[in-house]
Symmetry: C2
Subunit: 526 residues, 2 copies
C-alpha cells in the first residue's frame, strides 16, 4: 500500500521504481553493485565516496582559471605573509582572472549608494542620509523599492527576477540596440555562469548533442558542456587575422561533427572575446547570424564585455540587434544574450548579478526554462538591482551624472592605456607575439618556446605553457593562465594575462615580466 | 593540423571527437540525426528547440512550490490590481512558500545595518553614520572588511567563500554543537539549493544511483535528482506517529532498491521537517547515523530550519554533533549539513546566502567539490556576509543585543503562536487532521475528501488535492501547495500551508479557510 506515492511525484516515482527498475533488472548481470561498499555491512567501512565512485563528469571537467597555478599562488601568498622577504617579490599579482576590484579598482559610487540604501531602507527618510548619499541615489532606491512587492528586498522574487527591474533592463537594451526588448524575455541570474549552465542543461540531452565553441574559449563553456554530458565541437579562431572568426571554419567543423553523428544544437560566440580580446565586425556578426539561421542553431552570445571596447574603430553590437537589423524576428532565430555585472567598467564580480535575454523560443520551451529557474527560487536581489543599474546608469542632468561619468571614463580609459602598454611590452619580448586587445580584459600572447624549454616541461611532466607560467609565478609573483586551459592550436603555446593591475603597477609588471622572460630565454635558448 | 587542441582541453577534446565519435559511429544507424532540423538547410526553418528536442530531464522535473497554483494566483493578483473588488477577496495570501518577508516579516536590523555598511564602506568613517547605524554594526562591518582581501566586497572571493567569514561560521557551529568545525569544510553558496545540487551532481553517475528521500519531501530534492539523472528512493514518514522516521522503513526501502540493482548513495533527512514540521528526537537521530554508517551512505542533512523549533520538549541537534557525540569522526561517516539565511528568524530569502559543511570526505574528493564550485567562481558576497552574521549574531553586552533579541524573540514566539492557532483551526475542520508543527514553517494537514469531490477532480482532470487547493484559492485568495507536489501515501490527500501570514491576519485566514471548507464539504458531501 505504501509502495507508490500519488500525484505529481508518483508519475516519475513510478517510473523510477517500476519502469526503471525493470530496465535495471534485465541488465543487473553486468552491475558491480554486489561488491559496492553500500552493500557490505562491516563495521569499519571506509567512506563510500572516492574518486572512483563519484560522477565521472565531475572528474573530467576542468577550470584552469582557478587551477593549479592559482593554488600555487595562494601558497606563495601565505608564505609571504608568514615570512616577508622570503621570496623574490613582495606581492602576488593575480592576472589570472577578470576580477578588477581584487586589484584595487573602486566600485562606481552611485551603484553602491543605491544598493546600500536598498539593503537598509529605514535610513532612507532620515535627515543624516542626505549628507551621506546623493539625492538621485536616494530617489533611485525609492523607485526600486516601489518596484518590489511589499518593498521586501529580503523576499524571494519572481523566479525570472523582479518585474520592475526587468522592465528597466529591457528599456536599457532597447536604448542600446534601437530594437524592442520584452521584460518577459529577461531571466536574472547570479552572474552569467548559472545562465550558461541553464542553457546547456536545456539543450544537451546526451553526448550526441554538440555545442560549437571557439578555441581558445573561456573554460566555463567546456566545463559546463562536460558537466551536462554533451560534446564540445571546437571551431578555431584565426590568430593570424587577429583571432578572426571564419564562417568556413564553422561550416567545416559543423559538417565534421554531423558526419560523426553529432547533432550540433548551438553556437557559442564570445564578443568581445575571452581570452582573445577581439571585437567582431558588424559584417562578421551578420554572417554568423546567417549561419545560425541556415543551420538552425541557437546563438549563445556571451556579451558580458559589451562595455569593454578600447579601440575607436570598433563598436559593440549585440547579436540580437544585428539579427533584428537583418529583418529576423522571434520566429526566425533563437538568440540568447548573456550579460553580467562582473565586467564592464563596474567590475562587480562579488555581487553575482547578471541576466540572459532569451529570444526566439516558443512559449512552451520558455516555460521549461522558467521551471528550472524556479527550482532555485530566484537570483540574489542585490545582484538583480545592480543588473538594473548597469543597464540604466545616471543620465545627463542627474546629480550623480558627472561623478559617475568621471569614474566610468577613468576606468575605461585607464584600461585602454594598460592594454596598449602591456601589448607593446609583450610584443617587444623575444619570441612573443600578441594581438591587439580591442576589448574585454585580457591579452593572449603566443610564446614561441625553445625546444629545450619544451623538453624541460616534458621532464617535469607538465605542458610547456604551464611550465612557463609556473616559472613566471615563482620568479615574479605574476599569475597568468596557461593557454592550454583555453585550448590552442597544437604545437602553439600561449598564456592569458589580464590588463587589470592598477596603472601605477603596470611599469613593475612590465619590467618583472621582461626580466623574467629574458632570463628564461637565456636558460633555455636552443 | 588544426583538428585537435593541446593541453588540458585536448584530453577530453580528443575523447569527444575521436573516442566518442568512434562510439557514435558504431551506433549511428539508430540515430535520427539525419532528419533533425539542424541538418536540413531550408531557408524558412522553425526554431530547432521544441519540447521534443530539449533535455528530457528538464521536461520531467517538477517543482510544485512554484507550480500551476502559483501561476493562477499571479493571474488573480493582476486581476485584483486591474479591477479591485472583482473577486471575493481583496488580497492574495501566499502560503505556498517559506518566504517570510514577502508577507511582512521585517529583517533583523543589525544584519541589515552591517550589510549596508559593507556595500558602501566610504560612509563608515563619516560622522553622520554614527547617527544612522549602531556602534556594533559599524564595528562588525570593519571586522568583516578586514577579513576581505583588499576590503574588496566587489571582488570574486575564494570559491568556498571568504576565509575569515568561514572562520566565523566554523566558530558558530562549534559554539552550537560543542564539537570542532573546520573552516575548510565550509562551502558558502547562493542559498542551500545550489549546495544540494552540487552534492547530487557529485554523487549521481547514472540512473542506477539512488538517493533515499523522505516522502513527503521538499521538491528541490526530487527535482535535483531528476535533473542529475538519478533515482529517488522513497522512504515514508509515518503520519500516524507525527511524521516519524522509522529505521525499519529505511532498511526496507534500501533493500528493495538494492534488489533492483540500484546503488543507494545517500540519505536525505530534513530536520526540522519540510513540509511536515516534525523535529527528530536525539535517539532517532542516533539511529539514523548508525544506519548511514552501517550502510555506507552519505548523510545529507537539510538543517535550514535549525532555528525554527516551537515546542519546549524538542531541541535542534545537528547530525554532525550527534555523530561526533557517538564517537564517530572524519574517517567513520560522511555528513553534509545544509544551512541557509532564508529561514530561521532571519528569513532573508532574497539575499541567497547559505553554506554546506562537508565532513568525512577524502581530500581528493573535496578537491573535486572545490573544482565544481570554482566553475561558478563564488557565491554572492552579501549572502556570504549574512551567513556569517546568522552564525554569529550580537552577544550579550553588545549595543544591538537587546534590540536584536527582541526582534528575534518577537518573530519566533509569534511563529509559534501562529503555528498553534492554524493547527487548531485545521484540526477543527470536518475530515481534516493536522500534526503538530514542532518546527520549520509549515503545516501539512491531511484532508479526507468525499468521494464526490474526488470524482469532480477526476472530471476536471486534476489531482483531488490540487482540485481542493484551486477551489480554496479561487474562493479565498489563500495559496497552498497540494500534497501531491511533495508525495504522499496513495489515496491520502494533503496540502502544505505556511504559518507565515502576519499575526493580525491569522484570524482572517482561519475564518476564510473555515468558511470555504464548510462550503466545500456541503457541496461535495457523499
Amino acid at each position: 500500500m505504501r509502495r507508490f506515492v500519488s500525484g505529481v511525484l508518483s508519475s516519475y516515482q513510478k517510473r523510477s521504481l517500476s519502469h526503471r527498475s525493470l530496465r535495471f533488472f534485465s541488465s543487473t548481470t553486468s552491475l558491480s553493485n554486489s561488491d559496492s561498499p553500500s552493500s557490505s555491512s562491516s563495521a569499519a567501512m571506509p567512506t563510500p565516496v572516492t574518486l572512483e565512485t563519484i560522477n565521472p563528469k565531475v572528474l573530467e571537467c576542468e577550470y584552469a582559471v582557478r587551477g593549479e597555478i592559482v593554488t600555487l599562488a595562494q601558497r606563495l601568498q601565505q608564505e609571504l605573509q608568514e615570512k616577508p622577504g622570503s621570496l623574490p617579490f613582495d606581492e602576488i599579482l593575480y592576472c589570472n582572472i577578470g576580477n578588477p576590484q581584487s586589484l584595487g579598482q573602486q566600485p562606481i559610487t552611485f551603484f553602491r549608494e543605491v544598493i546600500a540604501l536598498c539593503d537598509h531602507p529605514p535610513i532612507l527618510d532620515k535627515s543624516e542620509t542626505q549628507g551621506l548619499f546623493s539625492a538621485d541615489a536616494i530617489e533611485r532606491a525609492w523607485q526600486i523599492l516601489d518596484q518590489i512587492p511589499g518593498r521586501a528586498t529580503g523576499a524571494y522574487s519572481h523566479s525570472q527576477g523582479i518585474k520592475g527591474l526587468r522592465d528597466t533592463i529591457a528599456a536599457g537594451i532597447e536604448a542600446r540596440d534601437g530594437f524592442p526588448s520584452n521584460p518577459n524575455d529577461i531571466f536574472l541570474t547570479d552572474g552569467a555562469s548559472p545562465a550558461v549552465h541553464m542553457m546547456m542543461q536545456l539543450l544537451i540531452r546526451t553526448e550526441k548533442d554538440g555545442i560549437l565553441c571557439p578555441i581558445p574559449q573561456y573554460p566555463l563553456y567546456s566545463a559546463s558542456i562536460v558537466l551536462h554530458g554533451g560534446t564540445l565541437v571546437p571551431y578555431y579562431l584565426d590568430e593570424a587575422t587577429g583571432w578572426g572568426l571564419e564562417i568556413s571554419e564553422l561550416q567545416k567543423q559543423l559538417e565534421d561533427a554531423k558526419s560523426k553523428g553529432i547533432t550540433v544544437r548551438a553556437l557559442v560566440v564570445i564578443n568581445p572575446g575571452n581570452p582573445t580580446g577581439q571585437v567582431l565586425s558588424e559584417d562578421n556578426q551578420r554572417d554568423i547570424v546567417e549561419f545560425c539561421k541556415k543551420e538552425g542553431l541557437v546563438l549563445l552570445a556571451d556579451e558580458v564585455y559589451q562595455e569593454n571596447v578600447y579601440v575607436p574603430d570598433k563598436k559593440f553590437h549585440s547579436f540580437k540587434k544585428i539579427s533584428r537589423s537583418m529583418g529576423y524576428g522571434e520566429e526566425d532565430i533563437s538568440v540568447v544574450s548573456f550579460q553580467s555585472v562582473s565586467k564592464g567598467y563596474y567590475g562587480e564580480c562579488g555581487k553575482r548579478g547578471g541576466y540572459m535575454e532569451v529570444t526566439g523560443f516558443g512559449a512552451d520551451v520558455r516555460e521549461q526554462i522558467y521551471k528550472v529557474a524556479s527550482v532555485n527560487l530566484c537570483s540574489n536581489i542585490t545582484g538583480q538591482i545592480l543588473a538594473s543599474l548597469v543597464m540604466s546608469p545616471p543620465k545627463v542632468g542627474d546629480e550623480s551624472y558627472e561623478s559617475y561619468f568621471m569614474e566610468k571614463d577613468g576606468i575605461l580609459s585607464s584600461l585602454a592605456r594598460r592594454a596598449k602598454t602591456l601589448e607593446d611590452a609583450l610584443n617587444s619580448l623575444e619570441g612573443v607575439t600578441c594581438n591587439k586587445a580591442e576589448g574585454a580584459m585580457y591579452l593572449f600572447p603566443r610564446i614561441h618556446l625553445p625546444e629545450k624549454a619544451i623538453k624541460a616541461a616534458e621532464a617535469a611532466k607538465t605542458a610547456p605553457d604551464a611550465f612557463y607560467a609556473r616559472r613566471l609565478l615563482n620568479a615574479t609573483g605574476i599569475v597568468v593562465v596557461p593557454g592550454s586551459g583555453f585550448g590552442q592550436v597544437p604545437g602553439t603555446w600561449h598564456f592569458r594575462c589580464t590588463i587589470l593591475p592598477q596603472e601605477d603597477k603596470i611599469p613593475a609588471v612590465v619590467s618583472r615580466l621582461t626580466e623574467f622572460h629574458k632570463g628564461f630565454m637565456e636558460e633555455f635558448r636552443d
